[in-house]
């Protein structure tokens, strides 16, 4: 609220590491290699890198630019930022999903993140290695999640303890604010994450071909399995959409968190170079590290068919079932398995704190709420909602939240912000915004990319996803009859929260009409 001094980042590297930390998540190490392997191997990199250039980089620059601009008006979230770009009563409401989206993801993400902490603990203690084959490892995961009761766990108690620890840790960090909380965490966690990633990639890429577990398969064969291109797959539109989707999800664009982080920049701070640096760091973690660990390891220890099954078996299966089994077969497997889950935990926590901040910023900037009070309020609501994701996991509650918060809202939000920036705010103003304080000469062709190509790309994604995913999911075509009440519950929760967010936006704008025009 007017009068409250907004925090600022301490250093350029601090904000870059925070944004990179937000972007680097479990998907870099699990989703990317599986998608690449299933969609043409090395050939997948052609649409992937094109999508990075034409969709990823422009969206990064849009979000950094409008975020920094919003900060100058005292707004750290999309409603205020959109209202400053478009003087239309509707603009602020379009921004509602930039607060709600990250909050919905937060509700289930901290629970998944807590599994990595729990699994790190059980790796080091050796309990995880009591499961010796695929079926036992699946039983271990199901028992940990409280879905089964077996010899590994008799209930959800352990998982719940790790969830509470993870949740409290996240909010404790956030309570220290931007500089002492998020920036300090990112400066410590990101270098450790990269270091562990290099150790694990190095371990996989130096597996001895004489190792009996690999049955003569070499690292060269494993890399060939990932990288040998199948160019015929490029004729399949699905491959291009998967590549665009991967770029979209990996860079954390369309969520609303980059806007919030960038709002804590100063007016003359650079956004072009900083945004590109953060995006490049994410690509390093994805292509170089993510591409060198999971699938090459799966090929080495399970062969081509095993790795193919693993790649198609889902992200959780890959991370929590296959990888522990692989480490089971390695020398010092417990240590490497523990490091693997610490890597995922660090990737998770740097992302989850970024998901908390937009709601915090909304309450602080628009309602003038103090830091401590906003931490308690957001924490209590998120904790109550997260419990539903914890206890209704087996009933598709989490999947439904992910569908809205992690898919639909992202694409819709990115489309809104791109059109607002390139068309309504106007490409000339947008370009000035991007170049202001820039430490990088932005190629001029990006004017055309931002105005024409990125929105076209997004609208195409929106149409195809609506056709492929929206209707079948909305109609619950693959949801068992018994689970439908839970899915309905999740849906009602999402739309109730949307209604409350819209109502709060209406209240604050009716109270402070015209404040958007007053810069700090």
């Amino acid at each position: 609220m007017a009068g409250l001094q907004r925090e600022r980042w301490k250093s350029k590297m601090g904000v870059i590491l925070a944004v990179a930390g937000s972007a680097v998540g479990l998907g870099n190490f699990l989703r990317f290699p599986a998608k690449a392997t299933a969609n043409g191997g090395g050939a997948f990199m052609i649409p992937y890198l094109l999508a990075f250039l034409l969709l990823g980089i422009p969206l990064i620059w849009i979000e950094w630019s409008i975020g920094r601009r919003g900060g100058q008006y005292g707004h750290g979230t999309a409603p205020g930022i959109f209202a400053s770009l478009w003087k239309h009563p509707l603009a602020k409401y379009l921004g509602s999903i930039g607060i709600l989206g990250p909050f919905i993801i937060l509700i289930y993400y901290t629970y998944i993140e807590s599994w990595t902490l729990g699994y790190a603990y059980y790796s080091f203690t050796g309990h995880l290695f009591d499961a010796a084959d695929q079926n036992q490892m699946k039983s271990f995961l199901a028992a940990y999640q409280g879905i089964e009761h077996n010899q590994f766990f008799s209930g959800i108690r352990s998982a719940y303890i790790f969830f509470v620890i993870t949740f409290v840790l996240n909010f404790a960090l956030i309570s220290y604010g931007i500089r002492s909380g998020i920036e300090r965490l990112s400066k410590i966690a990101m270098p450790i994450l990269v270091f562990i990633g290099i150790i694990l990639a190095g371990r996989v890429l130096t597996v001895d071909p004489a190792d009996v577990s690999t049955q003569g398969r070499t690292v060269n064969d494993a890399l060939g399995f990932v990288w040998n291109p199948d160019f015929a797959r490029l004729l399949d539109a699905k491959v291009w959409l998967e590549a665009a989707g991967q770029i979209f999800f990996t860079l954390s664009v369309g969520i609303g968190v980059i806007l919030t982080y960038a709002s804590y920049l100063r007016k003359d701070d650079d956004v072009a170079l900083s945004g590109l640096t953060a995006g490049s760091m994410n690509e390093f973690c994805e292509v170089i590290l993510g591409g060198s660990i999971v699938i090459p390891a799966a090929f080495l220890f399970f062969g081509a068919q095993g790795a193919r099954d693993v790649a198609g078996g889902g992200t959780f299966n890959l991370g929590f079932v296959t990888m522990p089994l692989i480490f089971h077969k390695m020398a010092f497997g417990q240590l490497f398995c523990g490091l693997w889950f610490i890597l995922l935990f660090l990737a998770g926590i740097t992302s989850s704190v970024s998901l908390i901040q937009p709601m915090m910023s909304f309450l602080q900037d628009e309602f003038g709420m103090a830091q401590k009070r906003s931490v308690i309020l957001v924490g209590l609501i998120a904790f109550a909602a997260s419990n539903l994701a914890v206890f209704f996991l087996a009933h598709g509650f989490l999947d439904e939240l992910d569908f809205w918060g992690g898919t639909v809202f992202l694409v819709v939000f990115a489309t809104f912000e791109t059109i607002l920036f390139g068309w309504i705010h106007g490409i000339d103003n947008a370009w000035k915004e991007l170049e202001s304080g820039s430490l990088l000469r932005v190629p001029r062709f990006y004017r055309y990319v931002i105005k024409y190509i990125t929105p076209t790309f997004l609208i195409t994604l929106l149409i195809v996803w609506s056709y492929q995913q929206f209707w079948p999911t909305l109609m619950m075509s693959s949801v068992a009859q018994a689970d439908r009440p839970y899915v309905w519950g999740a849906r009602i929760m999402v739309f109730s929260m949307l209604g409350i967010t819209l109502f709060l936006i209406r209240i604050i704008w009716s109270r402070t009409k015209g404040r958007v025009d007053h810069a700090d």
Partner: protein
């Protein structure tokens, strides 16, 4: 790994490494 695999592997790694190192150095020089 086949030769076309090595080429795609090399080009992809080179682009990503170049971008990461170039942007990091420019940033650190200005921080």
């Amino acid at each position: 790994m086949r030769i076309d695999g090595w080429i795609l592997f090399g080009v992809s790694w080179a682009i990503v490494l170049f971008l990461t190192v170039f942007t990091l150095i420019r940033t650190l020089m200005n921080d």
